[in-house]
């Protein structure tokens, strides 16, 4: 609590405490966090990067010109004669790939798949984590034991091995789809969120306002959603932001290993895989997607760190 000195707590003028003037502007938790964030240059750097990558994913035509046209539906200007040209300022900024397609356009289009997978995998992770962590923390006892031990079991499973198992279970004769990768990544990350959210729920549920709500006769659903969630979700949101960055790299790793996204999709991981055996002669095929990957991943991780500092009262 960072309350300013309130004159109404002084004995002599205590009776004036009921007038409206001395209360000040409405201040909220998010408002306080914003006040802290806007003074941090790293926040602005990561925000700028995130805005760039998100618009790149949603409106790639803003970054690639000319936009795809009827005679060049991909917008990649593929010419087989131009295979593996190096970067140049004149025509192909980032050079071309094996098929002679413009690499700058490809790297730009790659943002969509990478960010989509990261976003939905994180949503699955956080959704499952908050649901299970909330139930485990709030009800405790047997339910808590079951959920926590299951989470521990998932921790014992190496991430990549787990992802390979889930992916091979999901893959059908139609081949691998983007959502398979999303589900595989999302279904493995929740145990960390369960632990985190459960521990904050354990703290918050003891607070008097939660007890007060129980004494009022509020339902468990109401207590969990109205009283516990808003007060316990901040650390999980921070984790989710950092995890966005991590998932971007995990997706690239899986794709690089050839067990990730379908080979015909455009993603940074797939590009890395295709570039892996050509780096001696065409290093640009590796450097550009790697640079984007690191920048995007770092942007989310840095943003998460800034949010953590803004939300955590110990940093205030």
């Amino acid at each position: 609590m960072t309350d300013a000195f309130d004159p109404s707590s002084r004995p002599g003028i205590a009776l004036a405490a009921s007038s409206a003037e001395d209360v000040g502007d409405p201040r909220t938790f998010w408002g306080d966090a914003w006040r802290i964030l806007r003074r941090k240059w790293l926040f602005w750097v990561s925000l700028t990067l995130i805005v760039i990558f998100v618009t790149m994913a949603v409106f790639p035509q803003l970054y690639v010109w000319p936009s795809p046209s009827p005679d060049d539906p991909s917008g990649l200007h593929c010419k087989l004669t131009d295979t593996r040209l190096g970067p140049s300022f004149s025509e192909h900024w980032y050079g071309t790939d094996v098929q002679g397609c413009d690499y700058y356009a490809q790297v730009t289009y790659g943002a969509r798949v990478s960010l989509t997978v990261a976003l939905f995998a994180t949503l699955i992770t956080v959704g499952l984590g908050i649901l299970l962590g909330g139930l485990a923390g709030y009800y405790g006892g047997f339910l808590d034991s079951i959920i926590s031990r299951t989470a521990d079991g998932f921790f014992a499973l190496p991430y990549l091995v787990g992802a390979i198992i889930v992916l091979s279970a999901l893959t059908t004769s139609d081949g691998r789809q983007t959502w398979h990768v999303t589900v595989a990544i999302g279904s493995l990350g929740w145990p960390a969120v369960v632990r985190l959210y459960r521990s904050t729920v354990l703290q918050v549920k003891q607070l008097e306002y939660v007890q007060a709500a129980r004494a009022l006769g509020a339902s468990d659903f109401r207590i969990l959603t109205r009283h516990i969630l808003p007060n316990a979700v901040a650390p999980t949101l921070v984790y989710a932001t950092i995890s966005m960055g991590a998932v971007i790299s995990v997706e690239a790793t899986l794709s690089y290993l050839g067990i990730g996204l379908p080979i015909d999709s455009i993603s940074w991981g797939i590009m890395l895989q295709e570039a892996s055996n050509k780096i001696e002669r065409s290093g640009h095929l590796l450097w550009f997607p790697t640079g984007y990957l690191i920048a995007a991943s770092l942007a989310f991780v840095l943003m998460g760190e800034q949010l953590r500092e803004a939300f955590d009262p110990r940093f205030r």
Partner: protein
């Protein structure tokens, strides 16, 4: 005070039936907390927070429950509200058995029993506006809707001495006393028959304490609500209570009307507590004899045999080690749990 005397335990001290005319009637309430740890086969003994207490809160009256911190006062409040499961005992509220209620019955009962907490900083959800906090009981119990609800919140705010303009503020924008008023407004929203006030003023400045206590008294005069008023500050209990019970280590050691306890205390512990209250009159204050108790409160996990107060009592004798003193009238005119009352 004939009406309040009927609510007192009968002089016999034998277990007695819940009184039906009291608003809240608690009999034989026991709450033990199991301790984790200990060797296999030799578990640690449970912490005996409340060890069999009886009391009544008559309608429209205030029963003050006094004792040092850790004596089990707050556990009594939480157990009566069913925030904790009682180990044993019974509690009748307006003739209905609180501890035997199922979820639906309990929900309805909770309309009529509200609580005001000690810490005005922790008892209001920091993410909710005052409007949302005060209207929550109305929403939960489906009372009134929309504009009517807003008007009711404004009304409640005025009643506790705040301005309706405060409705859109967040709790951290208020001082401690103002927040406690918000907490009281929330407790009043459903027009309960009983309010359990768990140290409602001990976190506040002394000057604010008087205001909040006066507010509680005014509310009682207007609405006829009954209070179970839990506190460790005797001056405040004296101000607001009709009946007083003194608790020590999970048991009631002395109970009676306010005047019986404050003017004719007969349990050594009550006497020691009263001797610690400063006199407002400097002349009498100069001659005030303080009884300083030696030692600390024993652990409720391993309470002393016989009389629980004997380890700190200057009158303790052999009998106190072997025999638990019953809470009966021993000639003082009100029940006292001591073998050698004064």
């Amino acid at each position: 005070m004939t009406s309040t005397e009927s609510a007192l335990p009968p002089p016999s001290g034998a277990p007695y039936a819940p009184s039906s005319d009291a608003l809240l009637s608690v009999r034989g309430l026991v709450k033990e907390f199991p301790q984790r740890g200990g060797l296999p086969g030799r578990p640690l003994p449970p912490v005996q927070a409340v060890s069999g207490i009886d009391f009544d809160v008559p309608a429209g009256k205030t029963h003050g429950l006094v004792g040092e911190s850790g004596c089990g006062k707050s556990t009594v409040a939480r157990t009566v509200l069913r925030l904790e499961k009682p180990t044993a005992g019974a509690a009748m509220f307006e003739g209905a058995d609180l501890f035997g209620m199922d979820r639906t019955a309990l929900r309805d009962a909770r309309r009529n029993i509200q609580i005001v907490f000690q810490d005005p900083f922790a008892s209001l959800n920091p993410r909710m506006t005052v409007q949302t906090i005060i209207e929550e009981p109305l929403v939960i119990h489906g009372v009134s809707s929309g504009d009517e609800r807003e008007a009711r919140v404004a009304d409640l705010l005025r009643r506790v001495g705040l301005s309706p303009e405060h409705a859109n503020r967040y709790p951290h924008q208020f001082s401690g006393g103002q927040r406690q008023r918000v907490g009281i407004a929330r407790a009043l929203a459903l027009e309960p028959r009983l309010i359990i006030a768990d140290e409602p003023v001990s976190a506040l400045d002394v000057s604010i304490q008087a205001q909040v206590v006066n507010l509680l008294r005014d509310i009682q005069d207007e609405s006829g609500v009954g209070y179970l008023f839990i506190a460790h500050d005797l001056a405040i209990v004296r101000n607001i209570s009709d009946l007083v019970s003194v608790m020590y280590l999970g048991k009631i050691v002395e109970t009676g009307t306010r005047d019986e306890i404050f003017d004719h205390a007969s349990h050594p512990y009550t006497k020691a507590l009263l001797s610690a209250v400063p006199e407002p009159n400097p002349v009498t204050e100069r001659v005030r004899q303080r009884i300083v108790l030696e030692g600390d409160v024993p652990s409720p996990a391993d309470p002393p045999s016989g009389c629980r107060f004997r380890t700190r009592c200057w009158k303790a004798q052999e009998q106190c080690i072997h025999e638990v003193p019953a809470l009966i009238d021993r000639g003082a005119g009100h029940p006292v749990a001591c073998h050698f009352p004064e």
